[in-house]
């Protein structure tokens, strides 16, 4: 085996690497090149314009507007999703004390797990279409419910009103992501020895204290991973926006990804679009690095 090792390894490694290189890495590289041109996308002609695209980008208020929404997402999406999933995971795995000390989930936690995880099994496009229907101002489920309980005043044109559209989208994003993190955190909680929770209960920690003082520190590694994933999702957010609002109304839900798509495929400015893509790449990269740095902490060893 010793001598034949490398040919065999290469035989397995090279094809996927070649495919990855050709379809993923090389477009990335090309984007950097295209970003320095005024390519229109349809004709083979283009001129190199240097950093003009980036200069223009700096002064493009639509891009800034879109970036601002990404920043909001970046601040809110991870916090809301992680907080909600931690809460739900706690209730499902260790929260069901019923006033006693036994460590277990609330009654029916098996069913809840399935319910929370269900959105994860839907594709983003289905989620988008589904929620567009729910938010529909006339026949939608949300307004229907509000009217059914007599809260007609609260019924809104959810996706058509610049004041609400962004929050409506944020809610969908949280909803669609929570299930996965409930399962992720749940698995991590199962790995924590039960007697640590029992010791905390004897020490006088209620549910909230246990969550904040015991669970969160012990799950910090997992939370950190969740944070990075969600930050990346927040920097993107393209799919949901594209399906549900296309950045509208009045650019109130625009995100950088949507701007990139619009500029390239809508306005046929591929050079400029690529420049947006390049900026987005570096932003996502630096946020990931930053998130990993900031949340880094000494590794905790569960006995």
């Amino acid at each position: 085996m010793r001598h034949g090792k490398y040919p065999l390894l290469l035989a397995f490694l090279l094809p996927p690497l070649a495919i990855y290189g050709y379809f993923v890495v090389s477009p990335y590289a090309q984007t950097f090149l295209v970003a320095a041109t005024d390519w229109q996308g349809l004709s083979p002609d283009y001129n190199f314009v240097g950093l003009d695209n980036f200069k223009r980008l700096w002064h493009d208020e639509y891009v800034w507007n879109a970036l601002l929404h990404n920043v909001w997402l970046l601040l809110l999406l991870p916090v809301l999703t992680i907080a909600l999933s931690l809460f739900l995971a706690t209730m499902l795995n260790v929260g069901g004390r019923g006033g006693r000390g036994t460590v277990r989930g609330v009654r029916g936690s098996g069913i809840y797990k399935v319910v929370y995880f269900a959105p994860q099994m839907l594709s983003v496009s289905i989620i988008g279409v589904l929620w567009t229907q729910i938010y529909d101002p006339r026949g939608g489920l949300l307004n229907g419910l509000l009217r059914a309980v007599g809260l007609d005043g609260l019924a809104q044109v959810w996706l058509g009103d610049p004041n609400f559209a962004f929050w409506a989208l944020l809610a969908v994003m949280v909803w669609s992501n929570v299930g996965f993190y409930v399962v992720l955190f749940g698995a991590a909680m199962q790995a924590v020895p039960r007697d640590i929770y029992e010791a905390a209960a004897l020490d006088g920690a209620g549910r909230t204290r246990t969550l904040l003082r015991i669970t969160v520190p012990l799950l910090w590694d997992t939370i950190q991973v969740a944070w990075v994933y969600l930050a990346i999702i927040a920097m993107d957010g393209f799919a949901i926006v594209q399906i549900m609002t296309r950045g509208g109304p009045d650019f109130s839900t625009d995100v950088v990804g949507e701007r990139l798509y619009d500029t390239s495929f809508g306005e046929s400015k591929f050079g400029y679009g690529s420049a947006i893509g390049v900026v987005m790449f570096f932003l996502t990269l630096s946020i990931t690095v930053l998130a990993l740095r900031v949340t880094r902490r000494e590794r905790i060893e569960l006995s």
């Binding site: 006693r100 020895p193 007697d195 209960a201 004897l202 020490d203 006088g204």
Partner: protein, 437 residues
């Protein structure tokens, strides 16, 4: 006579009203509040019915005499009253109608083979396990349905259950912090406990940087700083090596004596049980077999199980025929009293009796003295004395016997020796009920 309603007094703010329900809400006059605040002790003041518990600062001064002032802070009795635990999905109770009274300041050891319900009993007291029937009382206060934190109990777990993300100091201070104990008092109490347990040099370390014995001591410290009404220990020594176990055993017993806190200790090791406990409770299959002092347990076991469980090597216990004088061991007859004979024949005894005698309660005699002939197959030389294992034919079956003997009279393997239980040192049990007679 119609009485005038009393004028309603403007109600002063109850000072410690937000604390656990067990504390009596005492109404304070404003001037008292002022004085107490000035003395820096409002928070520390909480009254248990009838006795002062936490008014240390006020009564002892703040010179650091919080920890153990024997008999000053509250101790408690514990009683299990027909407490039963049936795990969901099973028919047989894990703990079956446990009746047990534990005295104030007592060190009670629950002992039994694994699966006998001793840990479950302990966890029921801690509130970590439901009580399906019956009740549990601490100081005559029904705690059956109280959550663990309302029971004022501290527990040392088998795997210590230290919080891995906290330092030793934080581990010990955690419970106090949750109770909003003032910082300097936490500091004093933690340092004092650390000193008692020789943990001062490790206060800044995380549990993973500690050895097994140190972790065990931190777990103890975490319980001590709480100054709880009751200590619970669930096989705290089982993860230590043999030498450390013996050392820690005496340390724990000494600590308990010093603090005088009621302690319930679970172990499967009968030597731990016999050496540490004021009283020992032996359990089997969820049923309490006997509660007694170690001495009593050893000298007067109430049934066959206790007789066989306590003592090492185990008692020789054999089921033999009765005659009019006593129990017949082949050529040897162990005399029984008239009452014992009557009791052995009652309750389906079927003219048989179970007789036991301890390995050290018999002598090696010469062939002429009428002992039971035993063929020696193993001799354990323990230094001070020796255990002799062998077989003898009793009523047609080949039975195994153990005798402890002086080293000087150590027989050789294959030799036949004659053993004779000392008069009055044997135990007799009814053959059907297995109870002492």
């Amino acid at each position: 006579m119609v009485r005038e309603p009393l004028p309603v007094r403007p109600s002063p703010r109850p000072v410690s009203g937000k604390r656990d329900a067990k504390h009596v809400r005492r109404v304070w006059e404003p001037y008292q509040i002022l004085i107490l605040t000035w003395q820096g002790g409002v928070r520390r003041l909480c009254w248990l019915p009838g006795r002062v518990t936490y008014a240390r600062n006020l009564l002892l001064g703040s010179s650091g005499t919080f920890l153990p002032v024997k008999g000053f802070f509250s101790m408690a009795t514990v009683s299990y009253r027909k407490a039963t635990r049936i795990y969901p999905g099973t028919q047989k109770p894990a703990v079956d109608a446990l009746d047990l009274e534990i005295q104030d300041g007592e060190f009670l050891v629950l002992v039994g083979p694994s699966g006998c319900g001793k840990s479950t009993s302990l966890r029921m007291l801690a509130g970590l396990e439901d009580v399906d029937q019956g009740g549990i009382y601490i100081d005559d206060r029904d705690v059956t349905n109280l959550p663990p934190k309302a029971r004022d109990i501290a527990m040392v777990f088998q795997n210590y259950a230290l919080y891995p993300h906290m330092t030793v100091y934080e581990n010990m201070a955690f419970a106090l912090k949750l109770r909003k104990t003032p910082k300097h008092e936490i500091d004093v109490r933690v340092k004092k406990a650390a000193q008692m347990l020789q943990l001062e040099d490790y206060l800044g370390r995380k549990p993973k940087a500690l050895s097994g014995g140190q972790r065990q001591r931190v777990a103890m410290g975490r319980a001590i700083v709480r100054e709880p009404q009751v200590f619970l220990m669930d096989e705290p020594l089982s993860n230590l090596d043999a030498k450390l176990r013996v050392q820690t055993r005496s340390q724990i017993a000494g600590l308990q004596k010093e603090l005088g806190i009621t302690t319930v200790y679970v172990t499967h090791d009968q030597i731990e049980a016999m050496t540490m406990g004021h009283r020992v409770a032996v359990m089997l299959d969820g049923v309490l077999q006997q509660v007694a002092s170690p001495r009593e347990l050893y000298d007067r076991p109430q049934n066959v199980f206790v007789a066989g469980f306590i003592g090492s090597p185990a008692m020789n216990i054999k089921k033999v025929q009765l005659n009019q004088d006593g129990a017949v061991f082949a050529s040897l007859v162990l005399p029984l009293t008239r009452e014992q004979l009557a009791a052995a024949r009652a309750e389906g005894g079927d003219n048989q009796v179970i007789v036991g005698f301890r390995p050290e309660d018999c002598d090696l005699v010469s062939a002429s003295e009428g002992g039971l002939p035993i063929e020696v197959e193993l001799v354990e030389d323990l230094g001070a004395e020796a255990n002799v294992y062998g077989h003898a034919a009793v009523n047609g079956s080949n039975e195994r016997f153990v005798v402890r003997t002086d080293r000087r009279h150590m027989p050789d393997m294959g030799e036949t020796v004659y053993i004779k239980p000392r008069v009055g040192q044997h135990h007799a049990f009814n053959a059907a009920t297995e109870q002492r007679i």
